[in-house]
Structures are given as C-alpha cells and as structure tokens.
C-alpha cells in the first residue's frame, strides 16, 4: 500500500454548517472503488423535529483509532500516511465493536455480509494523487480537499481544527473541521 503518488500536502477539511443536505456526496461516494460501490458517507438531519440542519460525516482518520484498538480481529489498520483503512475482509468477524466505539459514529456494518465498512478517504483516488469523490462534487464546499494554503485563502475567518474532546478523552485526527478563527479544539459535550 506504499504509494509514492500519495500527496501528503493535501488535507481534508469539513464544515458541517455549509452542508445543504443535497446528498451529492452520497452518490459520489458510491463510485469509490475501494467501497465496492457502497456509499460510506453519512448525511442526515441533525434533529428533524426542530431544525432543517443537516450534517455530513466522513471518517476522521484518528491518530490513535479507537476502532482499530477495539477490533478483536486486528482487521483495521492505519498506514504510514495516517489513513485508517476499512476492515480487512478476510479478518473482519462482523462483531460491530468498531461501529459502537467510534466516537464520530462512522463505521457501518453490512449485516448479511458480516463485514464492517467505512470511508478510507477514497484510497484508490488519493493514493493516485486525486481528490476523494465526495469532495469533488460537494457544491457548498462543506467537504473540501486541498492544501492548507488553499483553505486559508478560501476561509480567512476560519481555522482548521483536528482536536476533539469527548468528556475527558482527547481525540486527534487527520481530517480537520473548520471552526471560528483562533479555535484550537472542539468540545463535543460542553
């Protein structure tokens, strides 16, 4: 899986407030060949009864992935580029530990196939120097894949944050969320 064409200058930036719920990313995600034509991105209303707010979630590719740690079958691995890969199909036993333990609610369990699947940042594309499918089609740039310079120019009043606090637990990720200028972290349960 060592690919010299993987451009480590390129990063993923998410801004959920820009998500318009169009589902274009969901359709594009299903085109990713590493997913076997299954859409892995999550897009849904946050609280439909009181708001029209939608949210979009890709795998955050944690520095110390909880999913890989709780996997009893050693099926989830992180490569040298920081990409946390979807479950190794020969090892995954479909136990759902990763589905329930991921703090971002990312992995999906394919029940009949007894297999966990998740976003691996379109590894077939990113390892060849291309952008992930979802980021290429997002019309509002809620999902953006580019360099840090590009995002700074595009969003001068925002700062990319990759540190998340869930109670006492600090989770650092490869993927960034765009926050108000000067932010350093996002506390999920204030």
């Amino acid at each position: 899986m060592q690919n010299p064409q993987y451009n480590q200058q390129m990063e993923f930036f998410i801004d959920m407030q820009r998500c318009i719920g169009c589902h274009a990313c969901e359709m594009a995600c299903a085109e990713c060949e590493t997913n076997g034509q299954e859409s892995m991105i999550h897009i849904h209303y946050v609280e439909r009864a009181v708001s029209v707010q939608t949210t979009v979630q890709v795998c955050m590719h944690c520095e110390d992935p909880v999913c890989a740690n709780v996997c009893p079958a050693d099926a989830i691995t992180k490569d040298d580029f920081g990409v946390v890969h979807t479950a190794n199909t020969s090892r995954c036993i479909g136990c759902s530990n990763c589905v329930l333990a991921c703090p971002f609610g990312v992995p999906k369990k394919e029940e009949k196939a007894e297999l966990m699947m998740k976003c691996n940042m379109c590894y077939d594309r990113t390892s060849a120097g291309k952008k992930p499918m979802c980021a290429t089609v997002c019309p509002s740039q809620a999902l953006f894949y580019g360099t840090r310079e590009e995002i700074e120019k595009l969003r001068p009043n925002s700062t990319p944050v990759s540190k998340f606090l869930f109670g006492q637990e600090e989770v650092n990720t490869k993927v960034n969320i765009m926050m108000p200028k000067g932010s350093t972290e996002l506390r999920i349960h204030p």
């Binding site: 009893p72 036993i93 329930l100 196939a113 109670g167 108000p180 996002l186 204030p190």
Partner: protein, 351 residues
C-alpha cells in the same frame, strides 16, 4: 538470540510448547509407536508441528488483547451456560454456515464466494486427508490373505475397506487431485478479481494478498505433478516432483501463523460474536438518548465502555453518562450540534 527469547510472550510460549508436544504425543499414539508412521513424510511432520506451535502461539497472544479476551470469555460463558444444548446446536449450525460454506461471502459478491468456496473446500479436504496421513493416524493395508481388498486403519483400528480398482478406491487415491483442481480454479478466480478490481488494486499487497494465492497454486500444481508423474511418466521425475511439492507445502505450513492463512483460525471468532449478539438481545437493548431508538445490545455497550477503558480511552462525560451511550447517528448529531453552537457563539455560521 537471548534477547529474542526475552521478547516472547511467556504464556503464549508455554501454550505453544504444550500444543506442539501434544501433537508429537498424538503421533506416537495414533501411529502405534510409529509402527504406522510413514517415514517419507517426516519433513511434512516437522512442518506441521512448527505450524501448530506457531498457530497456538499467535492465537494465545491474540486472545490476550482486551477486546478478543472479552469475546472469548463471553462466548465460553454463554456456550457453557444452562443453555448449552441450544448454543451448541447454534454453533454447529454456524460452523457449517460460516466456516464450511462461508455464506457471508456470498453477500459480499457471488463470484467471490464461488472462488473462495472452491479454494477453501479444496484446502479443507486436503487438510482432512493429509494431516492424519502425515501424523500416522491413518494408513492403508491389504486385508491378510487378500491382495485386492484394501482397508483403512484409523489410530490402528479398522475403519472401513474397499476393493482396489473400485470407484471408491479411485476417488480416495485421487482425493488430492480433486482438491488441487478446486484450489487452482478458486485461486485463479480470486487472482482475476485482484487484477481487475480498482479498489483491490489500490489496497492490496504482494505478501498479504498475492503470495497466498501464488503459494496455493504452486502447491496444487506440484501436487498434480506427482500424480502426473506416476500415472503417465512411470515415476521417472518422481524425485523432482516430490521435492518441489514438499518445499511448497512446508513453506505454506511454516507461514500459516504469520500470514493471511491465520484468518482460517481467526474466523472461528465469528461464531462467538454471533452467540454474543444472540445472548445480548435477551438482556435488553440499548436506546440512544438522541434518536430514542434501539441500536445495540446493552451488554455490548457496557462491555465496550469497559474495553475502551482498558485500552486507555475514557469517554465518560461530566454528568456520569458516557459518549458511547449514543448510537452512531447520535454521535454524529452531537458533533454537528457542538459545531453549530461554536459557530453560533462566534457570531457567524460561515467564514
């Protein structure tokens, strides 16, 4: 060397030595003090004993990991509970369904299932034939005073007979030929996937994905070579065929604990995961505080809180609840709401 020994896991090492010794003892018992042991298979025997040692070592290390240990503990607890007959039957059913027929692969892709089923069936039948032969547990003899009836002895006890030249004899003596054909067809089908599927091309590795297939084909072809040699070449190339086959098989045996083939043994954990899910449902489901819907068994959620803590993650919140009490959708919504609040407090949703 001493440093290498010090890095070994002591518990696993003891278990692996016991497993390897048990095989050696069973060789003596099964072959009636080596009376029925085929000395020509000594290299295969050494490879098998090493494979048993390695598999037991890795399995033991693997079971020491907190999530695996928990599944193992729970599976045994449920299996040997008062519902033992029920869970035993369920395990047998799942063994046929998931291990022998690998039904779950059918839901991943039909062609892939056909390829894997052929390959796995060939391997499993070949194991069932060769391991007892290698360990001296099975051997064939002529019936005393009769040179046309052949009978099989298992652990030195008679276990059926057949006439030479009969259909059964033909099938039995060519069992490994049929296995080789199944494995070769299956492995070629799996190779085709790896040559044409863009996702696999991007993520596969030579040692993890290609080498196992190449090795299986090499074992099959060299094995067929032995049959070809005695059927059509009057044994003229026997030495070459036998040595190349032995080399590939022993490489396979020695590599089982380290490479992709270890998944054959890991797959059994799928049965445990299934029992765990079934038993968990009896104890009640967890309801997500955000979606107000059931999303997993409460047993699973509680166990995961414990396992994550053991692994150094603590998702306990200020009010004593836990982030893991939320369903995956609830967690995503919590993140979105927190982001919304921060943006709102900053006075601008975009920027």
């Amino acid at each position: 060397m001493l440093r290498l020994l010090q890095t070994l896991n002591r518990i696993a090492l003891i278990k692996a030595i016991i497993a390897a010794l048990a095989v050696v003892i069973l060789v003596f018992l099964g072959s009636r003090n080596l009376q029925n042991f085929d000395a020509a298979l000594i290299a295969y025997l050494l490879g098998t004993v090493f494979a048993v040692f390695g598999i037991a070592y890795r399995y033991s290390v693997w079971l020491q990991r907190p999530p695996t240990r928990l599944y193992w503990k729970r599976s045994m607890q449920f299996l040997f509970s008062r519902d033992f007959p029920f869970y035993l039957l369920r395990s047998v059913k799942l063994f046929f369904q998931n291990i022998l027929f690998q039904r779950f692969i059918y839901h991943r892709s039909r062609t892939r299932w056909i390829g894997h089923f052929l390959l796995a069936t060939g391997c499993l039948i070949a194991f069932a034939v060769t391991i007892p032969l290698t360990l001296g547990w099975i051997h064939f003899e002529f019936k005393p005073g009769n040179d046309t009836i052949y009978f099989a002895k298992v652990f030195g006890f008679e276990a059926g007979s057949f006439e030479l030249g009969s259909f059964i004899a033909f099938m039995a003596f060519h069992a490994l030929v049929w296995c080789s054909l199944l494995v070769t067809i299956g492995a070629v089908m799996m190779m085709k996937r790896r040559l044409t599927d863009g996702g696999l091309i991007a993520t596969q590795t030579f040692e993890g994905d290609w080498l196992p297939l190449v090795l299986l084909i090499a074992i099959s072809i060299t094995g067929l070579g032995i049959s070809y040699d005695y059927t059509f070449l009057q044994g003229k190339t026997y030495q070459f065929m036998a040595v190349t086959h032995a080399v590939t098989v022993i490489l396979f045996l020695v590599w089982i604990p380290f490479g992709k083939f270890f998944h054959i043994f890991q797959r059994l954990a799928q049965l445990g995961a299934n029992l765990y899910r079934h038993e968990g449902k009896k104890h009640g489901m967890a309801v997500c505080p955000h979606t107000h819907e059931e999303f997993a068994t409460q047993l699973h959620v509680n166990d995961l809180k414990q396992v994550t803590k053991e692994l150094g993650f603590d998702f306990t919140l200020k009010d004593g609840s836990n982030h893991l009490d939320l369903s995956p959708e609830g967690k995503r919504a919590a993140l979105a709401k927190a982001h919304f609040e921060v943006r709102k407090n900053a006075g601008a949703f975009f920027g």
